[in-house]
Point group: C2
Chain length 723, copies 2
């Protein structure tokens, strides 16, 4: 037993969560107090006024404010409408999927054997099945809410709901901790299913609107980006919200839920669970609680100690946030380990027990945390236009779009090297020290600074949206330039966020994979058996199939948007002249419907693959599929995100003309800039749809396999039984 | 014992090889008799005259002939000069590498343990080491020669040299078949090392020259492709030879040598070897002999039975060749199995014996053969402009280069699905029926129609070259159009060839991987151990690293070419006006030097990875690396080749304007065409350098691991020993 008592643990976790929620609400209050107009009077701090100085072009400030509010409202209505539509489909999906889970798992009679860790008695066979089915719904709701807001709200909300649910389920399960924590795996499945809708549906939405708006507006009608005459412009800005904010949030929430669940499940069948040590059992939750406190401190550093005075300080400041939170969290982990864990314990390791020391777990969590930092900094190096890689890509625009694309692709390929080595080291250390429990807490370590990470990540689309609103409201060029600079930093931080998301997804998937293998009763996953090997090679193919599907989905949805925008330009008189208002709502509706319809094929691929592989080919082939898609998907996702981010920032580098080199390539409209725009457009679906969606592919397949493992172990491998 | 006696086997193999050689020489003689001029008089068959009808533009035919001969000579001199330079470096490389092999393996004392199949006695420990070191050189020479010519010459030459060497080595090894066939693995290593130079060096050469020539000629100076005023034009055509012909040849030769060696090695430690059944032992060679005969018959079908009358018949005719050779070969395999194999035998299967029936092996070889056909046909579907995928890509050029690139990338991703399932099925069947021996003979099955496959593949670059010569010699537009149509079919067949190459590389690598695991004395390669998993994820990253390197190499080499071409245009007076001749030789030299220098980093990555992974991390991590790079590399290679092929043909589709749709997109110079040209340029390094080079990555790492396995098993894993 550790120093921390069960009673104190039961208090500390919800208190940390509530502090996080309170802090989030406070931040929200502070943000809502920011005035748009520059004529605020009194002292000027960045908290109070976004628009400083005089307007060069004599735009009336009241009119601008009113316009801003109007546009903001339109975007907000669009986003809410999308999320509610998405939510309706999600509701149907949840119901159907819940029934499927119940049927599959309910049909398994006495699937537990000696080789498996689970020890059911006949009476409660259906309990986990039912619980899984029910519980997914709760997580859907949580994830949905959390995905819609950011940072602290997400971290605190996720933690609080998990804690509440564990305590509620305890009333039902009583002392059957294995059953209790096994049913909690449904939380992960729920989070991941929500992420499927948020990431894939949202990803298709955002890029369909973006590409559709650009193809007609910029290419055909020759009007600038974010011009209010473009009917798809609101849909484009809604897309930034639902794809880049809600999608990213639900993705990271899914990772958080899954890594917690994987850790809890493994712990429940280890000495923590067997000896009913509640505090040690709650280790993953305590780590997350500490994470909230650490991120709170980190935010205070940014807002109160190192105040950001101008745009060029933003990127270093955001980077510093990452570093500060990582250093503080390292100390936090040591503290948690000292107080919450016994000095020695045993962990379940594929059928055997592994003796683990207190400080071993410290290294597991810390290595995950620091690997996250390494991934973040590498991503920053490859996607920020302050360093040579992006500048080389910008330089290659001299010789046209083709060299730009070649250099961009090569940059993306190269950018996977260090992240993969970081992930490999994190996996080796955590895996060796504490088996699959180690891997899942390493993932939690990477995600422990999620509040800071998400704040940094959300910064990009918010700046992008702000730029759009500024443009539409007819604000001065100075403001537009400032939001562009913010947006460039935002591209980098968004790429960093994607790096975290994929890195944690890799660790989480491995942990879930390990839990699946344990639960399915497999002892080894030997590459040298044909069943596993074909799974491995087909699994490695899935990210390509999935990417092809999501890219095609963006294309089809964008095409529908193009038709609608063309129709409006042709049928609404005075639209081009700015005398008539476009019908924004129809574009939002088209994007909403198209994105939800277009996510069906990739969604089906993700949801059906484990079911088909498990049912027809059995658990070994499925294990191969999971391993293959994991090791291959990580590479595709990282390279796609970074290539896209680099192209976007290469374009911004040329536009901004910060130095002689950039000026020689520019200005806007030069041949080099045109080549850069082509790269940027290609990068859009890569970095915002197909790349990040792969996280969902690898995580959701793993957690689904885990939930259905007992069924596959009993009834799976039909084809090989026939042969 | 089979029906075929040892004596007869010893006669049949060299006879088949000699027939192949004779046929190749006959074909060569026939080709050399083709006259360039149209004024041949007498009857006109396609064998006698390439230029039919009158010249519309009154170009004097004698002058044209003379110019053709001159250009041909320049290209031939350039190619020979490159190959000889390459050969010199290869010589040094071979010497150094031979010494390394000797030192590494010579240092292994008594590495054979009970768990390993090899049973050395103290006396001949160094024999395989020395033999490996020496034998690599022979294979280098063979591969070098074979790589320079095509089809039959390669198949027959490879077979003959292998047969001669086995018989020569027999004099030394006598009855020690294990030692004999283990030393033969050096043949594979040699073939693959040559392929490294041919594929990677040649690939960089061809695209550096191509991109360099285009960037200055087409983009800056606005002169047409293949214009004789462009100083890099000869280097470009030389590139088609050394990259697409010699490179492809050496790649497939490497696959052929490795799969034969892997099969022979496994057989030598199975009942064939133990019972000294020479005929059954030579089964891989007999299959190849049968392949030569089958391909000869297939060629007769094409040239004498179904005569090709016009350009549109070419692609169907080439496709028919594939089908005919596959059907005939299926019967051929059945025949060989009946005569050469005993009805039942045992094969070595990772430490255990597996009883295999005669007809099991038939299915192994046949499934490889038919999987090759499936890959070929799928590739054709995705890269030929006769079908909807390429037409959709062409159509996407309407909305600019960005959509063209997105659709092209998505097409490439999608095109991996069927090939991967084909490979997976081939692996499952052959692996289940006859373990690693099955996999290696499946690879041989896929390669058994290599003579036909290479003839089809070589067709592309030959047409490309012919088009270039026609343009430079100032032949009529009609001829240029005809060569363009030939070239479009050639892009498809080249993609088919690449599909075969990567498919067989996947099977070969798996077989070598199996042989490596056996020889290193590992029983299982369990994904659920940290050592293997980190190997797997890092291995899956290597294709990206390698691709980034080769793409960068093309960029750097192309840049050097650009500088030289610019220099010539600026310093040679009258060059642009056509009154002065450019200095072709300097461009050839620059391409040669740059490509060989630029292949060092990717080459080092391939050669050093197994050595570092094996020495520092041990055989399990190395096994993970091999499996990871195999399953990930296959996907990258297939998608890169097909994307590139599709872009090239989308451009050709628009240029040719064969139907209303294509005409609406064209003509040359339209916006859609410009977008298509950008896609084509991006595809060049993907389809001709980075994509196909990945075959080398996965094969060479596997065969190198196999050769060094005893060293790694004894001394490897230094880091883990320290920890």
């Amino acid at each position: 037993m550790g120093v921390l008592s069960e009673g104190l643990t039961q208090v500390l976790i919800p208190v940390a969560a509530l502090i996080g929620l309170g802090f989030a609400l406070l931040q929200w209050y502070l943000v809502s107090k920011v005035r748009v107009s520059g004529h605020s009077g009194g002292h000027k701090s960045y908290k109070d006024s976004l628009i400083e100085g005089d307007f060069e072009e004599g735009v009336d400030s009241l009119e601008v404010s009113a316009k801003c509010a109007e546009i903001q409202n339109a975007i907000s209505v669009g986003a809410t409408s999308f999320l509610f539509t998405e939510y309706r489909y999600l509701g149907i999906f949840t119901g159907v999927f819940g029934v499927i889970i119940f049927l599959f798992l309910g049909s398994v009679k006495g699937f537990s054997t000696k080789s498996e860790p689970c020890t059911y008695n006949t009476g409660n066979i259906c309990k986990p099945a039912l619980a899984n089915a029910l519980f997914s719904t709760i997580a859907f709701i949580t994830a949905f809410r959390s995905g819609a807001v950011m940072g602290f709200l997400l971290a605190a909300n996720g933690l609080l709901v998990l804690w509440v649910t564990i305590n509620l389920f305890k009333l039902y399960y009583g002392d059957d901790w294995e059953g209790l924590y096994e049913s909690i795996t449904g939380y992960g499945l729920g989070g991941s299913s929500m992420a499927l809708f948020g990431r894939v549906g949202g990803g298709i939405y955002t890029k369909a609107a973006d590409v559709g708006a650009d193809l007609v507006g910029k290419v055909e009608k020759n009007i600038p980006e974010d011009d209010p005459r473009n009917p798809a412009v609101i849909a484009d800005n809604v897309g930034d919200n639902v794809g880049d904010i809600a999608g990213m949030g639900s993705d990271l929430f899914g990772s958080y839920a899954e890594s917690s669940c994987a850790a809890l499940f493994v712990a429940s069948i280890s000495s923590f669970g067997v000896s009913h040590d509640y505090t040690a059992m709650s280790y993953p939750l305590i780590i997350s609680s500490m994470g909230i406190v650490v991120c709170l401190l980190t935010t205070l550093f940014a807002t109160d100690i190192f105040e950001v005075k101008n745009v060029s300080e933003i990127e270093p400041s955001l980077k510093r946030q990452l570093l500060i939170s990582t250093v503080l969290m390292t100390a936090g982990i040591a503290t948690v380990n000292f107080f919450a864990l016994p000095s020695e314990f045993t962990l379940f390791n594929f059928g055997t027990d592994k003796v683990v020391k207190n400080w071993h777990l410290f290294f597991c969590v810390a290595i995950g945390l620091w690997a996250g930092l390494a991934i973040g900094y590498t991503t920053e190096y490859y996607t920020s236009n302050a360093y040579s890689p992006v500048r080389d890509v910008a330089d290659s625009c001299r010789t046209g779009a083709a060299t730009n694309v070649i250099f961009g692709l090569a940059l993306g390929y190269k950018s996977v090297i260090i992240p993969i080595f970081s992930i490999a080291i994190a996996i080796y250390v955590s895996f060796s020290l504490a088996a699959m429990y180690g891997v899942s807490v390493a993932a939690l370590g990477m995600l422990s600074t999620i509040a800071t990470g998400l704040a940094i990540d959300a910064y990009g689309p918010i700046s992008d949206n702000a730029g759009g609103i500024a443009e539409m409201a007819g604000m001065s060029h100075e403001i537009r330039e400032r939001t562009d600079a913010l947006d460039a930093a935002g591209n980098t931080t968004a790429a960093i966020g994607k790096g975290f998301a994929i890195g944690s997804a890799a660790l989480v998937s491995l942990a879930l994979f390990g839990a699946f293998v344990s639960r399915a009763g497999i002892k080894t996953v030997d590459v040298l058996t044909p069943k596993v090997f074909i799974g491995l090679i087909v699994g490695a193919m899935l990210p390509y199939w999935f990417s092809a599907m999501t890219m095609k989905s963006v294309g089809s949805a964008a095409l529908k948007m193009v038709e609608e925008v063309r129709r409006q330009f042709n049928t609404i008189p005075g639209l081009m002249e700015g005398t008539a208002k476009p019908d924004y709502a129809t574009c939002v509706k088209i994007s909403t419907d198209a994105s939800l319809r277009e996510m069906i094929p990739p969604g089906a691929l993700v949801m059906l693959t484990p079911l088909i592989a498990g049912t027809f080919f059995g658990v070994e082939t499925l294990a191969g599929v999971l391993a293959g898609s994991l090791v291959s998907g990580v590479q595709v996702a990282i390279s796609a995100s970074n290539t896209g981010g680099a192209w976007d920032n290469a374009k911004k580098y040329i536009e901004a003309g910060v130095n002689e080199h950039a000026k020689a390539l520019g200005p806007k409209g030069s041949d080099a800039h045109k080549a850069a725009v082509i790269g940027d457009t290609i990068g859009d679906p890569l970095k915002d749809t197909s790349g990040p969606s792969l996280n969902i592919l690898i995580k959701l397949m793993a957690v689904e396999s885990l939930v259905f493992a007992p069924f596959f172990a009993t009834h799976g491998g039909i084809i090989f039984k026939w042969l």
